[in-house]
C-alpha cells in the first residue's frame, strides 16, 4: 500500500470525515473547484464576461422591469442594428454581422425582416405618442406586441447557447449590461487560481525554510528568522501598490504576476514560523537521533524524517493561506491594485459602488459577489477548523 494511501486512512482523516460540517464544506469547495475548472477549460471566457447582454437589468426571476425599461430594451439595441444592416448595400453580409451577445438574426429573407421591422416601427411610433407608458395601461399590450416583433427578428437560441443565455440573465446585469452571473462565476476561477498558486508556493517555501531553520539552528536559523521578520514588516498592500506602479508599462501589467509576487513574498511567513516550531520539537524525538546515529546526512534527515512529519501542519496552513489569499485578492481588486482586465469579486463590488447602484437599491451585483465569496471563505474556514481539530488538537 502506498504512502499517501496510508496517509489518508489514518485516524486523523477518519475523524475529519466523521465531521458533518466539514464534509459539507468539502462538497461546497468541490463545487467551486469544479466551476473553476469549467471556466479554465473555456466554459466561460473573458469575452463572454465582457459581452453586453442587455440593458441594466434586474435579476429576472423576481423583480419586474418598468415599462420604460422594457420599451428602451425593445427599441434601442437589436431593432436599430437589424434596420441598419438592411439599409446596407451588401445586406446578407451585414446581417451576418448583427449580433448581440449570443443572439443572431433569424434566418429569414430580407423582405420578411423588413416587414417585421416596419411593423415594429409602427408600434414604436404609436407608443411614442405618449410620454408616459404607465399612465394608460391600454398601451401595455402594444408594448408587448413591440417586444414580440423584436423577438421575431431574433433566431431562437438552442442548446448550449440558450442555456448560457438564460443563465447569464438569471442574476441580472451590471451597469454596462454585462451578465452578473457569468462574471461572478468567472471570478471563482480567479479567486481559486490566486488562492491555490499562493497557498501552494507559500506552504512549500515556508515549510522548507521553517524546517531548515529549526533543524539546522545556528546561523541558518538566525538568517531565516531575520528574513521573515524583515518581510513580515512589509504590509503586502503597500508592496502590491509599489509593484503595480513598477509594472505599469510592462507587458505583465494585466496579468496576475504582481499579485503573485506580493502574496508570495509575504504569505509564507506564518507557515515558516509554525513549521520551525514543530521542527524544534521533532528534533528532540528519538527517531531523529536514531537517524543521526545511523549516519544519515542532515539533509536526508530533514527531507525524509522531519518534513513528512509536519505534513499535517502544511495541510492546515494550506487551507488557511488559501482563505487569506482569496480575501486579500478581493480587497486589492476592490482598491484597483489587484486583478486588472478581467472580472473579480473585488472589481464587481467596486463597480457596484461606483455606479451608485447600491444606494438606489440595485443590490444584485454586490450581492452576488459577496455571496459567492462568503460561501467559499466560510467553507474553507470550516474545513480549516476541522483539519485543525483532526490533526492538531493542541492548536499549535
Amino acid at each position: 500500500m502506498s504512502m499517501t494511501d496510508r496517509f489518508f486512512k489514518t485516524r486523523e482523516f477518519r475523524k475529519l470525515f466523521r465531521n458533518k460540517s466539514a464534509v459539507i464544506a468539502m462538497l461546497v469547495i468541490a463545487a467551486y473547484l469544479f466551476t473553476a475548472l469549467f471556466v479554465m477549460c473555456g466554459g466561460i471566457t473573458r469575452e463572454t464576461c465582457d459581452t453586453v447582454v442587455g440593458q441594466n437589468k434586474m435579476p429576472g426571476f423576481f423583480i419586474q422591469q418598468t415599462p420604460e425599461q422594457r420599451y428602451e430594451n425593445a427599441t434601442s439595441k437589436f431593432l436599430p442594428m437589424v434596420q441598419r444592416a438592411l439599409s446596407r448595400a451588401d445586406q446578407t453580409a451585414a446581417l451576418a454581422d448583427v449580433r448581440l451577445g449570443q443572439e443572431r438574426v433569424v434566418n429569414k429573407s430580407a423582405a420578411q425582416l423588413q416587414a417585421i421591422i416596419d411593423r415594429a416601427i409602427e408600434l414604436k411610433n404609436e407608443l411614442n405618442q405618449s410620454e408616459d407608458l404607465d399612465a394608460d395601461s391600454a398601451r401595455l399590450p402594444q408594448l408587448k406586441a413591440l417586444e414580440d416583433q423584436v423577438a421575431m427578428l431574433k433566431a431562437p437560441l438552442t442548446g448550449w447557447s440558450r442555456l448560457m443565455q438564460n443563465a447569464s440573465l438569471v442574476l441580472g446585469t451590471d451597469a454596462q449590461g454585462r451578465s452578473i452571473f457569468l462574471r461572478g462565476l468567472y471570478s471563482i476561477k480567479i479567486a481559486i487560481q490566486i488562492g491555490l498558486v499562493t497557498a501552494a508556493f507559500c506552504v512549500l517555501l515556508g515549510a522548507l525554510l521553517g524546517a531548515a531553520a529549526g533543524y539546522f539552528g545556528g546561523w541558518v536559523d538566525h538568517g531565516i528568522v531575520w528574513v521573515y521578520t524583515t518581510f513580515s514588516s512589509i504590509p503586502n498592500l503597500v508592496l502590491l501598490v509599489v509593484l503595480s506602479y513598477a509594472f505599469t508599462d510592462s507587458e505583465v501589467k494585466d496579468t496576475l504576476l504582481p499579485v503573485y509576487i506580493a502574496f508570495g513574498a509575504t504569505f509564507w511567513i506564518g507557515t515558516c514560523r509554525v513549521i520551525r516550531g514543530e521542527t524544534l520539537k521533532l528534533k528532540r524525538m528519538e527517531y531523529i537521533q536514531a537517524a543521526q546515529t545511523a549516519g544519515f546526512s542532515p539533509f536526508y534527515i530533514l527531507v525524509r524524517h522531519v518534513i513528512p512529519n509536519t505534513a499535517h501542519l502544511m495541510l492546515i496552513n494550506f487551507s488557511l493561506l488559501l482563505i487569506g489569499a482569496i480575501k486579500s485578492e478581493v480587497i486589492l481588486s476592490f482598491l484597483g491594485f489587484g486583478v486588472k482586465g478581467q472580472p473579480s469579486w473585488g472589481i464587481m463590488i467596486r463597480d457596484a459602488g461606483n455606479n451608485g447602484d447600491v444606494v438606489s437599491g440595485f443590490f444584485w451585483e454586490i450581492g452576488t459577489a459577496t455571496a459567492l465569496m462568503f460561501a467559499l471563505v466560510l467553507a474553507f474556514n470550516i474545513l480549516s477548523d476541522a483539519l485543525q481539530d483532526a490533526f492538531d488538537p493542541k492548536h499549535v
Partner: protein, 340 residues
C-alpha cells in the same frame, strides 16, 4: 592514605592487552542554560563530570543511577549525539572526536543505540520495512538484491512476525516497537550497542521478554553493550560490570558478581537497600536516603553525595574524593572507604 595520590584515576590498558572496544577518557559534558535579555549563558548543568571507564570487547557495562544523573547524556556523548565539552572517546583505539564528520558517519555503523521511549524512537510515517531498508541501504550491508531477505532475517531475529513488515508504528504494542528499534540497531551489524533504558517504558511482563531477547542477541552476536538503567536488579541480571553514577560523577565501578557483598560506596549501598526484593538480608542495614539531591546547576564543592550521605565527615564537604582502584575492576570514590 599516602598511596591514594599514587593510584591513578583511570588505569590505562596494559600494553600487551588488545585495545578495549570502548574507552572513555575524562569525559565532561556541560549544558549551558541561557537566559536574561541578552540570552547569555547564566548557568551550566554539569550533566557528566570527568568520567573515565573502558569496556572490553564482548562485555556488557551497566550504568545505574537516579533520574537526571547524566546516564543518557553519557551514552549520547559516547555515540557522539552530543558533542562532549571535553574528554575523549575511543572506539577500538580510534578517537572519534578527532575524525571528520564523513569518517564519523562511516564508523557509526559499528555502534548503534537502542532508545528509551519506543513511542518516539520510530518515525510514525514509516513502516517497519521502510525503517529497516533505509539503514541497510545506507551502509550497503548486503547487495541490493538481498535487502528483502535481510529485513526478514532481522525481523525473525527480534521476534517480529513477517506479516508485520508493512505496519506503521502506531499499529504495534510498546514491546513490539522496542523490538523494531532493536532490529534497526542490529541492521548494520554493529559491534557496540548503547541501550538507553531499553525496557523502562515497558510493562514489567514485557520487560523480561525484551531483556531475554537482548541477552540472546548479545550471546549470539558477541555484542559489546553499554546498558543504561535506573534499575539495579536489571543491571545485576544483565551486565558483566557496572558504573554507579550520581550527579554526573562515577561513584563506584564494580563487577556484577555478588553485588551485596562487594558494594562499598554508601550511595550504592543505599540503592541496594532501597530495593527490598533484591536484598532481603540487608534490609535494615541502611535507612532510606534522606536529604535533598543538589541542583545539577550548583553541585556541592566536595563529594557530590555529601548532602545525603549517612557517614559523611568534615572532609567530604571540602574535597571531592578521587575514584580509587581497589583491584579486580573495582573502583570507589569515597573518603570513608579505605583501600585494603
Amino acid at each position: 592514605m599516602s598511596n591514594q595520590s599514587a593510584a591513578t584515576q583511570s588505569s590505562p590498558p596494559p600494553a600487551e592487552a588488545p585495545a578495549p572496544m570502548v574507552r572513555v577518557q575524562n569525559l565532561v559534558k556541560h549544558f549551558p542554560k541561557r537566559g536574561g535579555i541578552l540570552n547569555q549563558v547564566i548557568a551550566k548543568v554539569h550533566a557528566v563530570n570527568d568520567v573515565s571507564f573502558q569496556i572490553r570487547k564482548g562485555q556488557t557495562m551497566g550504568v545505574v543511577g537516579e533520574s537526571g544523573c547524566g546516564k543518557s547524556t553519557l551514552g549520547k556523548c559516547v555515540i557522539r549525539l552530543h558533542e562532549p565539552t571535553s574528554g575523549k572517546v575511543f572506539i577500538e583505539g580510534t578517537d572519534i572526536g578527532s575524525i571528520s564528520s564523513h569518517a564519523l558517519r562511516k564508523i557509526r555503523s559499528r555502534m548503534q543505540m537502542i532508545f528509551q521511549d519506543p513511542n518516539s524512537s520510530l518515525n510514525p510515517r514509516m513502516t517497519v520495512e521502510a525503517t529497516l531498508r533505509e539503514v541497510i541501504k545506507l551502509h550497503q550491508v548486503v547487495p541490493a538484491g538481498e535487502v528483502d531477505a535481510k529485513i526478514n532475517t532481522l525481523m525473525t531475529k527480534v521476534g517480529l512476525r513477517l506479516d508485520d513488515r508493512k505496519k506503521y508504528p502506531h499499529e504495534f504494542s510498546g514491546g513490539q516497537k522496542q523490538r523494531v528499534g532493536i532490529a534497526r540497531a542490529l541492521a548494520v551489524n554493529p559491534e557496540f550497542i548503547i541501550a538507553d533504558e531499553p525496557v523502562s517504558a515497558l510493562d514489567v511482563s514485557i520487560q523480561a521478554q525484551v531483556l531475554n531477547l537482548l541477552m540472546d542477541l548479545k550471546e549470539e552476536l558477541g555484542l559489546t553493550i553499554l546498558f543504561v538503567s535506573h534499575d539495579l536488579k536489571v543491571i545485576d541480571h544483565f551486565c558483566d560490570s557496572m558504573l554507579v553514577m550520581y550527579l554526573g560523577n562515577i561513584m563506584e565501578e564494580m563487577p556484577c558478581e555478588d553485588i551485596h557483598a562487594h558494594a562499598k560506596h554508601p550511595y550504592t549501598r543505599a540503592l541496594l537497600a532501597s530495593n527490598p526484593v533484591m536484598d532481603p538480608d540487608h534490609r535494615a542495614e541502611l535507612t532510606v536516603l534522606e536529604g535533598e539531591v543538589p541542583s545539577p546547576y550548583d553541585p556541592p564543592a566536595g563529594c557530590p553525595f555529601v548532602t545525603r550521605c549517612p557517614i559523611k565527615t568534615a572532609r567530604c564537604e571540602q574535597e571531592n574524593p578521587p575514584l580509587l582502584d581497589h583491584g579486580n575492576g573495582h573502583r570507589v570514590a569515597c573518603w570513608e572507604v579505605k583501600l585494603q
